[in-house]
């Protein structure tokens, strides 16, 4: 189960993601992030309360980042919880995504 909330802070559209980003939630996650990217020049995905991310969830984040790259928008991932950071580290996503400890705004 995933919970998605959005707010705007200092020019950044922040999409906060809680719960589990697995195959069941991947479509909703990708749709929310893509929609934020399409409507905003700067988008941050806040994963501070995300408990788990599977390969399907990671693909959703990567494809949202791809959409941002194609549009020339800024896309950042922030506040990774320990289990999610482990997955990001193993996948080497820091080579592909802007990852911040805190929100950039």
């Amino acid at each position: 189960m995933i919970q998605l909330t959005e707010e705007t802070r200092s020019g950044w559209r922040v999409v906060s993601v809680s719960g589990r980003a697995d195959a069941e939630a991947a479509d909703a996650l990708e749709a929310a992030l893509r929609s934020a990217v399409e409507a905003n020049g700067r988008v941050a995905a806040d994963f501070a309360t995300l408990d788990y991310i599977s390969s399907a969830g990671l693909r959703a984040v990567l494809q949202a980042a791809r959409a941002a790259q194609t549009r020339g928008s800024e896309f950042a991932v922030c506040g990774l919880s320990a289990p999610v950071r482990k997955v990001f580290d193993m996948s080497g996503l820091h080579h592909v995504l802007r990852i911040h400890g805190e929100l950039p705004c």
Partner: protein
């Protein structure tokens, strides 16, 4: 994914099959099957574990057979265990993908004899556009700095351990983009575990070869 990689292994001029690293290719084709199951939303993976999401049929006999095997073996829970399990079953994944490509009218099958006794099989292209498409997608994924489509990330990470990228790009291009290829190969759990399996097998084989004095 499985069919795309096998199609890439067909020499477009002779119709011969390029198998450069036999065990590596066999492991990578198992990885391609798991990618196909993931794309069909039948499985999902964590950093180690593999989960069945839906055991229902996919329409592909190969995928359905692997999915049915997974549903029956609850004792095997990790990606690595399943890669080894399917590898050791020695299913003819390459042959099944070739048969499907022939049915789709992309390849045709020719049999002949060399020196009157050795059977030679060739798979000349009937329609070379699908292979061209695979080659273009691979080249773009590797040479550009844009994050590739999910399918193209998977394709790079399977074509690399099969030793097939050398048929798409020059040695100089591959050398210049080695870091990007490694980065793409590392993104997915399935391809990381395929690489682990190949490395473990290589280590075992090297231990079995006596050191020359």
């Amino acid at each position: 994914m499985l069919e795309e990689v096998v199609l890439l292994a067909v020499d477009e001029t002779s119709g011969g099959l390029r198998s450069t690293r036999e065990f590596g290719t066999a492991y990578a084709l198992v990885g391609a099957v798991f990618f196909d199951l993931a794309l069909a939303r039948k499985i999902d993976t964590g950093t180690e574990a593999i989960h069945i999401l839906d055991p229902g049929p996919t329409g592909s006999a190969t995928l359905d057979r692997v999915l049915a095997a997974m549903a029956q073996r609850g004792d095997l829970t990790t990606v690595r265990q399943w890669i080894d399990e399917i590898f050791h079953r020695r299913d003819d994944l390459e042959g099944e993908a070739l048969a499907s490509l022939i049915r789709q009218g992309i390849l045709r099958h020719e049999k002949s004899k060399r020196l009157w006794i050795i059977d030679v099989e060739r798979f000349p292209m009937v329609d070379n556009r699908p292979q061209q498409d695979v080659r273009l997608r691979l080249a773009e994924a590797i040479l550009s700095d844009i994050i590739p489509d999910t399918r193209d990330i998977m394709l790079v990470s399977i074509a690399e351990p099969c030793g097939l990228l050398g048929y798409v790009l020059t040695g100089m291009q591959l050398a210049a983009r080695r870091q990007r290829i490694q980065m793409l190969c590392n993104l997915e759990t399935i391809s990381r575990k395929v690489a682990d399996a190949i490395n473990a097998l290589d280590a075992t084989l090297h231990q079995g070869i006596p050191r020359m004095m």
